[in-house]
Amino acid sequence: MQHRKKNARVLFLSLLLTAILLSGCASSEPADTTGFAMNAVVNIRLYGGDGETGGQILRELSVAEQRISWRDEGSDIARLNRTAGAGEPVSLSDETIVDLQELTALSEASGGAFSVLVGPLTQLWDIGGDSQRVPAQQEIDEVLSLTGQSSLSLTDHGVTLSPKGASIDLGAAGKGIGCDTARKVCEQHPEISGAMVSVGGSVLLYGAKPDGSEWKVGVRDPDGGQNDLIGTLSLPGGCVSTSGDYERFFEEDGVLYHHILNPTDGYPAQSGLRSVTVWHENGSVSDALSTACFVLGKENSLSLLRQYGAEALFLDQDGEITMTEGLKGRFTLSGESGKYTVAGGPQP
């Protein structure tokens, strides 16, 4: 009897020791997954999740791409574009309708600096594609005439696009939509206490890290490689997207033409900026706003950012970094290049 009780005590203490030693290990080690989706590299770090959930996120990103990419013949957007001018409403998925509603509203709020109806313009320039070139002014004028008349109608009966030749391109918000898609997957898994999902430079910061420290997001140096930074933002969560003149471009006769087209004049935007980084709770909003703000320029972006409750960091062509009030104190300048300076934020 004494022997059995002694064994029970030893067993209990052994189990207690094992539980203590193991308890901290699993939850603090993240599960990392890397893949390709939405024509971008996707990096996933999950705290509390595992590789299967990372794989699920990648699959959902591919599903989202198949829904919104105009290049995918079966996508909602491609189907809608094919019906332009036909006058018949098209039935789209609920998710696509929500995306179009949100982005159309943002387009109006931005005064057209961001537009979902830029398909004819982006296809004309094809920057980053096999047919990239500087179009003739007449070509640009014809496309602007088309996009200026283009309209999108969302009703209970479906979505109607007009006139013929009009086309939707969600490329400027696509990776942000990817971040929102990743968030939905995380929300389905209560064991995930924190997650970082990067979709080609648009980043979702979900929940918290095990040590409770804020997420650190590096802001890329336009003149450096993929790992060179102008500095780092400390953020509690949300989504971050950046638009810059270095992402996709080509050079012709000594002139650089970048991919962020101004829907108003049909040319790559010249707003005095190299890049704009926007923070917002929502991924597609952060992505679309970063494009709009790049086109609008620093001063003209402020009211739009306030309207959406977003924050932004601007890098101008002189190497000066300014930021809205909400990011002050959250940015640490990188000393590596030594060519950037931080100024006071723009006055509201």
Partner: protein, 129 residues
């Protein structure tokens, strides 16, 4: 007489166990960081893990069945895309990765190289842009 499973003396033992556990956690965090490892992924799948400490001279890795073709150079102090047949050469222009968390990507080839390990607390969680 009924004897309890845990006696007063056992609480002393439990206290010692907790101290041992605390010591273990302190020791594990105080350990030198893991060595740097170059992780090569193709289509999201890991195809090679190369500890830099195992490299004594430059090693050129040409990935099979890779279009466009890429060649990865692994050296004791880092890793890089040495050559690539992609049109924009962004992967090659990234240069040599020398710190944990850095990565280079050839999107047309769907190949990525990341330096893992090293426990660099200064590395950001993500990069935007």
């Amino acid at each position: 007489m009924n004897r309890k499973l845990v006696r007063p003396a056992d609480f002393v033992l439990i206290g010692l166990v907790l101290c041992a556990a605390a010591g273990f956690f302190w020791w594990s965090f105080a350990q030198p960081s893991q060595e740097l490892t170059a992780v090569v992924r193709q289509d999201g799948e890991v195809v090679e893990r190369i500890p830099l400490a195992s490299i004594t001279e430059s090693r050129h890795e040409v990935l099979p069945d890779c279009e466009p073709a890429v060649c990865i150079l692994v050296e004791p102090d880092g890793v890089c895309f040495e050559t690539a047949d992609c049109p924009d050469q962004l992967c090659v222009r990234t240069g040599k990765l020398t710190r944990a968390g850095q990565s280079a990507v050839c999107l047309p080839a769907r190949v990525s190289v990341t330096l893992e390990g090293g426990g660099d607390a200064a590395s950001p969680d993500a990069v935007t842009g």
